[in-house]
């Protein structure tokens, strides 16, 4: 492997990591606020992709402008899911039961998507999807640059909401201690509902980028969920910045090993790194303890 190939793999890993961070952000946010492991995150990414697909093919709305519709639509879906399913879970066994509940939600969404769109693979197209810009001898695809830019913007926006607004303080208070938050006047139920709405809404952005970089059908969510879970666990459940760092680390490791050694060994090396990190830092790179300390 030449140095150029190695650098190319690192650049590819960083850019693709941004796309995965976009897809994982909602998952880690929902866990952070609700202690819920959202197994439906993969299918929600696919749903976001299908919404963009429907808007672009049937109404001629571009992928980026379409986010102005898909993000609020997914927000409402998140609110409905929180109200309809997540809120019903008892506090004591919330995390365990959430896996079953969100799996049911995933199957429900998958069934609806199959009925509406069929199972043939589709992919999102736009003039910039296949274009790239040459920088220092590398072709950098616009769609990955856009994905990375959106991931950074999203990270900054979520950070601003969490740490610079009253609502963000309410979220963090609910996250740290529900009873204490209740006592100081935080409407915990409403805070959680809106947080889940935001978590699902940001998935619309991840879905659009995913749909523009991969062909997908209603079953594509299953391939994603294990990777997304691995990212948020490494990053630290509940940490948006951790998800970004872990996604980039995961994809850089994956791409470098795939090019330098073999794609067959890439997942193994990543998971070996995950095990080592978790044995030293069980809460992940930026786990809940670190987040609360900020």
């Amino acid at each position: 492997m030449s140095v150029t190939d190695l650098l190319h793999a690192i650049v590819d890993g960083i850019l693709t990591g941004g796309v995965y961070a976009l897809m994982a952000a909602g998952l880690t946010l929902i866990f952070g606020v609700m202690d819920i492991i959202n197994i439906a995150q993969g299918i929600m990414v696919v749903l976001g992709a299908y919404l963009s697909y429907a808007l672009s093919t049937h109404l001629g709305i571009g992928l980026l402008p379409g986010l102005l519709i898909t993000v609020p639509a997914m927000f409402l879906l998140g609110v409905a899911i929180e109200f309809g399913f997540m809120r019903r879970l008892r506090e004591v066994d919330r995390t365990g039961m959430s896996i079953l509940i969100t799996f049911a939600v995933a199957i429900l969404i998958e069934g609806v998507l199959s009925a509406v769109f069929g199972v043939d693979y589709v992919q999102l197209h736009a003039s910039y999807v296949d274009r790239s810009v040459r920088v220092l001898g590398f072709y950098l695809p616009y769609i990955y640059l856009i994905g990375f830019g959106l991931a950074v913007a999203l990270l900054v926006a979520l950070y601003a909401v969490l740490y610079r607004t009253k609502f963000g303080r309410a979220i963090r208070a609910s996250l740290q201690n529900r009873t204490a938050a209740d006592l100081i006047g935080v409407n915990v139920n409403r805070t959680r509902t809106i947080s889940v709405g935001i978590g699902v809404a940001v998935t619309a952005i991840g879905g659009m980028v995913f749909g523009a970089t991969s062909a997908f059908n209603p079953n594509s969510g299953y391939d994603l969920i294990s990777r997304l879970l691995a990212i948020v666990i490494l990053g630290g459940l509940g940490s948006i910045g951790g998800a970004m760092a872990a996604a980039i680390l995961m994809l850089v490791i994956n791409d470098v090993v795939a090019v330098w050694w073999s794609p067959t060994w890439a997942p193994l090396v990543y998971f070996a790194v995950l095990v080592v990190v978790l044995s030293v830092r069980p809460q992940g790179l930026f786990g809940r303890t670190a987040v609360r300390a900020q």
């Binding site: 190939d5 043939d120 992919q123 197209h125 062909a215 079953n219 994956n254 794609p263 067959t264």
Partner: protein, 412 residues
């Protein structure tokens, strides 16, 4: 006396229950007696990784059942199709055939989609002595197990790329591509095909620049595609099982400004309009795929099937997935065996299919060797040319059009 009476009553009750159970199970699906319907069972991947292929297979089976019933069914019995979904899981496919054969006692079974799922399910069928006619389990792994009951109506896949490789090797030296790059998923359908093609091409002086195997769980193909692009080989041979894999490579190649002179993928481009939608209209132009059938195949029953498919499911001929023809052929071959033996007896059907007889299918002739591979057909190679998948190789075969070489540039 009372004890004897009780014992006799109990024994009689057990016997009656057993009889009723036996009647119940045979009436559920077996051939039974009289002219009642028979059930043919199949497990298909209606969800999961192979869902697009599984649903195309279901349409093929349904279409054949409809046509056969219109002709009076099988030996005077109307046919009912029982399809169970295996979610593309090798574990579930085993449970499904256990249920279809062991519990539902279906009269006949059709195979699932893919070599991966055919292998474990053929073993279940063998245990019950059932003939296992299938259309998408052509990997060597299936035929290397010594099973006597498995019959693949399609072309054996290990030689899928031979026609293509021989065409490249036959080019005049000045025109012949000089280098090739190979990448394949670690699937029993794709992996055996690559070394065969690589051997022929290397013998013809086509140098291998890169050869990569990647796991089927890969969701990000960027590094593999980038590596192929940076190798800048004249030929790319991609061992793929589905549309997303090929589509990811196509888009990555476009982004990397890399357009090989020849691009062939083992599966994906055969999925009609779904493939074109994924890669973007125009980008499919010049891509090759080996197969045994395409919608424009000039054979009377194939053309009739295409017509019926469009009438039943809509769309156009180019929308039809080759899986439909593979599934339809399974029904045709099994029906010929049942009619020739005048029975649903599995051992008679198996013996007949092994007898060396040549049967007919929409994909062409079918003749099984001792392993159950179809030896009567040769692989054809198709190429997308101006929005249509056309037969190109072998060049001297009736119906073949001249291949586009070098591949036209991507439209982006």
């Amino acid at each position: 006396m009372n004890i004897f009476r009780r014992c006799a009553v109990t024994a009689l009750a057990i016997a009656m229950v057993s009889l009723l159970a036996a009647c119940g199970s045979s009436s559920k699906g077996g051939a039974g007696s009289g002219s009642g319907p028979i059930t043919i069972g199949a497990s298909l991947s209606l969800s999961g990784d192979f869902s697009a292929d599984g649903q195309a297979f279901e349409r093929g089976y349904e279409l054949w059942v409809h046509d056969q019933n219109a002709k009076g069914g099988l030996l005077g019995h109307k046919i009912r199709l029982e399809v169970l979904s295996d979610a593309s899981s090798p574990a579930q496919v085993v449970s499904n055939y256990e249920r279809l054969i062991g519990s539902d006692h279906v009269a006949l079974v059709f195979g699932p989609f893919s070599t991966l799922l055919t292998l474990p399910s053929a073993r279940v069928a063998a245990r019950y002595g059932y003939a296992f006619v299938e259309g998408a389990g052509g990997g060597p792994a299936v035929f290397g197990t010594g099973l006597h009951n498995v019959f693949d109506v399609s072309v054996p896949i290990k030689d899928n790329l031979v026609t293509f490789a021989q065409w490249v090797a036959s080019m005049p030296a000045a025109q012949r591509p000089k280098t090739a790059a190979y990448a394949t998923t670690n699937d029993p359908f794709t992996q055996p095909q690559i070394p065969v093609a690589q051997h022929i091409l290397q013998a013809a002086g086509v140098k291998t620049l890169s050869s990569t195997v990647f796991p089927s769980e890969v969701t990000d193909f960027t590094p593999i595609a980038s590596k192929l692009a940076s190798a800048d080989a004249d030929i790319v041979v991609l061992g793929s099982v589905d549309v997303p894999t090929v589509s990811s490579f196509v888009h990555a190649f476009i982004q990397q400004h890399y357009n090989p002179k020849i691009f062939i993928a083992t599966a994906g481009p055969d999925q009609g309009a779904a493939f074109v939608k994924a890669v973007g209209a125009g980008n499919e132009n010049g891509i090759f795929v080996p197969n045994g059938w395409y919608p424009g195949f000039q054979k009377a029953d194939s053309l009739q099937m295409v017509k019926e498919y469009i009438a039943r499911y809509g769309g156009s001929a180019s929308d039809i997935n080759a899986d439909v023809a593979e599934a339809y052929s399974v029904g045709q071959v099994l029906a010929q065996a049942v009619e020739a033996t005048h029975s649903f007896d599995q051992s008679k059907i198996i013996s007949y299919l092994h007898s060396g007889v040549t049967l007919n299918s929409v994909q062409g002739p079918v003749k099984f060797d001792a392993l159950g591979e179809n030896t009567a057909q040769k692989t054809l190679t198709f190429q997308w040319q101006n929005g249509a998948l056309v037969q190109t190789l072998p060049t001297n075969t009736p119906g073949s059009k001249p291949p586009l070489y070098p591949k036209p540039n991507w439209v982006g």
